[in-house]
């Protein structure tokens, strides 16, 4: 049971990181960035490609390669997040809600299939030279096994969340982000470069997703072009569960979804994970549509 909780927390930390991307974009633009799961997947592939690059350039060295690869993957994913915003969303910002959502779906299909065609239809193994170092080290706590990787996942998520909180609450960038999400026109009149803060939101979210991608790649050991789809769906559910647009809510939702998923596997069977996520989504929407930590929003006319 403790084991199930630990696994669930580790899995949930990943959903939390991805959910942050959904919730930030929703908070600032009021739209669902459907292609976010795909950015997460590109981050996963980015890490593996960057590790390959390091090996080709100077050979295998555990710590150095991992750090360099992580930085490269974050840059890669952030670039994709930025490109997505510039290509598919910026022009449609003022349009009817359906238009940006459709183009986001189109984009997510394009990215997924691009990776399928350009890399492989099958699965790619995460180079286990790197992941073994994290999964083979483990401790026993209360009769449960906790690996270094799970600890790293929890730690990284905690650090990144605190960092994000600091960035949003305490820095000038954060002020401009918050101002843009409150009132875009007023913010622009106050001299805030709205286009930049929106692009910044996408870049931040994508960078977080890339870190999550690196950790999931290690955790699962394999990656595929469609890995981003189900993670994206669950992370979105997490964001709705916590109250979409609300940053602490996304983290809470991520952990809850992660734990619920492992509990479902434990009690019912791993074939029913998707259904349990869906049931949670429906229950939240019926019982508390604004999410656990969400504020009541009235419709603007």
């Amino acid at each position: 049971m403790v084991q199930v909780l630990i696994n669930g927390l580790a899995r949930g930390s990943v959903y939390a990181l991805v959910a942050l991307g959904y919730t930030m974009v929703y908070g600032i633009l009021g739209m669902i960035n459907f292609a976010h799961g795909e950015v997460f997947m590109l981050g996963m592939f980015g890490v593996v490609f960057a590790l390959g690059l390091c090996t080709t350039l100077w050979g295998t060295s555990l710590a150095l390669n991992l750090v360099v690869a992580l930085v490269l993957a974050v840059l890669f994913a952030a670039g994709w997040g930025w490109a997505n915003e510039r290509i598919a969303y910026r022009k449609l910002r003022g349009a009817n809600m359906l238009a940006p959502l459709s183009s986001a779906i189109g984009l997510s299909i394009v990215l997924q299939n691009f990776v399928m065609l350009a890399v492989t239809k099958g699965k790619v193994d995460f180079p286990h030279f790197y992941s073994d170092a994290f999964t083979k080290t483990h401790w026993t706590v209360l009769g449960a096994r906790i690996t270094l990787l799970q600890l790293t996942m929890l730690g990284t998520t905690a650090i990144l969340c605190l960092g994000l909180w600091w960035l949003i609450q305490k820095t000038r960038i954060g002020i401009s982000l918050r101002a843009t999400s409150q009132d875009r026109l007023a913010a622009s009149l106050m001299g805030i470069r709205v286009d930049r803060s929106i692009a910044g939101t996408f870049i931040l979210g994508s960078a977080l997703a890339a870190v999550a991608g690196a950790m999931v790649g290690m955790y699962q050991g394999v990656l595929a072009f469609d890995s981003g789809y189900s993670v994206g769906l669950k992370a979105f559910t997490a964001a709705v569960l916590g109250g979409i647009g609300n940053i602490p809510g996304a983290v809470l939702g991520g952990f809850l979804i992660g734990i619920s998923e492992d509990l479902t596997s434990y009690w019912i069977g791993s074939d029913w994970k998707q259904t349990s996520t869906f049931v949670i989504l429906i229950l939240v929407l019926i019982l508390r549509p604004r999410g656990l930590l969400g504020e009541r929003v009235s419709d603007k006319v």
Binding site: F45, F49, G106, V110, F114, V119, Q274, L281
Partner: protein, 398 residues
């Protein structure tokens, strides 16, 4: 500065796609590591395989541009309504049935599938085009229709034509139940709920044990399939049935579009709050749109079951939902002739492309995605938008 943006974006995309296109991974599992290898042939093959589609896309784009330049001589206003010419229905039906006698087996099955997609596209158009609710899991309702037929026919005598209302009702009821909790929320929630619902339905179908037959699916019994009548072969009957149903769906949706109900949906799509203030029961109207739309998918599902003689969980895939959505969006949101044209084009063109360029098969979804993005960026009202719809949109502009 402005004119440099496309150039900049193209460069950005080229840079970002480069690592995945021009290099390949080489696993070195003796030490559990990977290396990168420069592989120009790999990247070139990608573009070569995509070339026919890109050329076709450029051609289509050019044609659309050209159409806008031409003086407008439209015939839509004259053929749209069936009410003014009720005698047109049997006439059109006869014309539709005729080619069924001459087409070969392959052509007939393609035509039947095309008709099935017409029903789906027209049905999805109710929610996405008319009421402005995005539905991402439409194939779930196709599967529900097909499975409700397949499951029931194991126990009772239920030929396909008798199963049509059953499939319609089951799908509509389930659609209504799914939409119930989320229609009071902002519309984009429903998009994701429907997506999650489709995932859950597929999982249910795969894990349903003896009831759903798991991954193997269910075979439709001999007596309940579509079979030949008199001089007509089973494929000809299937085509006639599909064509009749497609025409009926088009006629029904066309009538609804022109009714009070259709105008209420359009009002909700354009501005929900304003529509509500004008006394339109928004939630009830949206539920009705969702249920009706699901019902049409159920109809198509029964047809599918009767025609392909077995159903399995592969009916309910995200790919299928996106394909139908692309048909509706390409054809023009809210335009019924547009949906019909979109369905026929997007079903037949990829099928032919697959016959001519077998390497293109895997590129289907990539191309649909590109179409979705490109159409949304250039004309958000769709390529073949109806005149009324164009007026509806343009009137709202300041």
């Amino acid at each position: 500065m402005k004119h440099r943006t496309p150039l900049f974006l193209t460069l950005l995309v080229l840079v970002l796609t480069a690592p995945l296109l021009w290099w390949t991974l080489e696993g070195d599992y003796s030490i559990g590591s990977v290396k990168l290898a420069f592989a120009p042939a790999h990247g070139l093959a990608f573009f070569l395989n995509l070339a026919p589609a890109l050329a076709l896309g450029a051609l289509a784009f050019g044609l659309v541009k050209l159409r806008d330049r031409l003086p407008r001589f439209r015939m839509q206003g004259k053929i749209e309504s069936f009410k003014e010419k009720p005698w047109a229905i049997p006439l059109v039906l006869l014309v539709l049935w005729l080619p069924g006698l001459f087409l070969g087996s392959k052509g007939l099955s393609q035509a039947t599938f095309a008709a099935q997609y017409v029903i789906l596209a027209v049905g999805l158009n109710i929610t996405v085009g008319l009421a402005g609710i995005l539905v991402l899991g439409y194939s779930a309702f196709l599967a529900i229709g097909a499975y409700s037929f397949a499951i029931l026919q194991q126990w009772i005598w239920l030929p396909w034509w008798l199963a049509l209302p059953v499939g319609f009702a089951t799908s509509a009821l389930i659609g209504w139940l799914v939409a119930l909790p989320c229609l009071r929320l902002r519309g984009d929630y429903l998009a994701l709920v429907s997506l999650g619902f489709a995932e859950a339905v597929r999982e249910l179908l795969r894990n349903g044990g003896d009831l759903t037959g798991g991954d193997k699916g269910i075979v439709i019994q001999m007596t309940n399939r579509i079979h030949g009548i008199g001089p007509f072969s089973s494929q000809q009957v299937a085509w006639m049935g599909a064509a009749t149903l497609a025409l009926l769906s088009v006629a029904v949706v066309d009538r609804i579009y022109r009714s009070r109900l259709g105008r209420a949906w359009v009002a909700i799509r354009e501005d929900e709050i304003a529509a509500g203030s004008m006394g339109i029961p928004v939630v009830r109207m949206k539920l009705l749109a969702f249920a009706l739309s699901a019902g049409f998918a159920g109809l198509a599902g029964v047809l599918y079951g009767g025609f392909t003689v077995f159903v399995d969980p592969s009916v309910c895939t995200f790919e299928e939902s996106v394909l139908v959505l692309a048909m509706v969006i390409l054809g023009g949101l809210g335009s019924i002739p547009g949906s019909v044209a979109g369905a026929i084009l997007l079903f037949l063109v990829p099928t032919w492309l697959r016959d001519w360029f077998p390497a293109m098969q895997d590129y289907r979804l990539l191309i649909f995605g590109m179409i979705l993005v490109a159409v949304m960026l250039t004309n958000p009202q769709g390529l073949l938008g109806s005149r009324r719809h164009r007026l509806e949109i343009e009137e709202g502009k300041p």
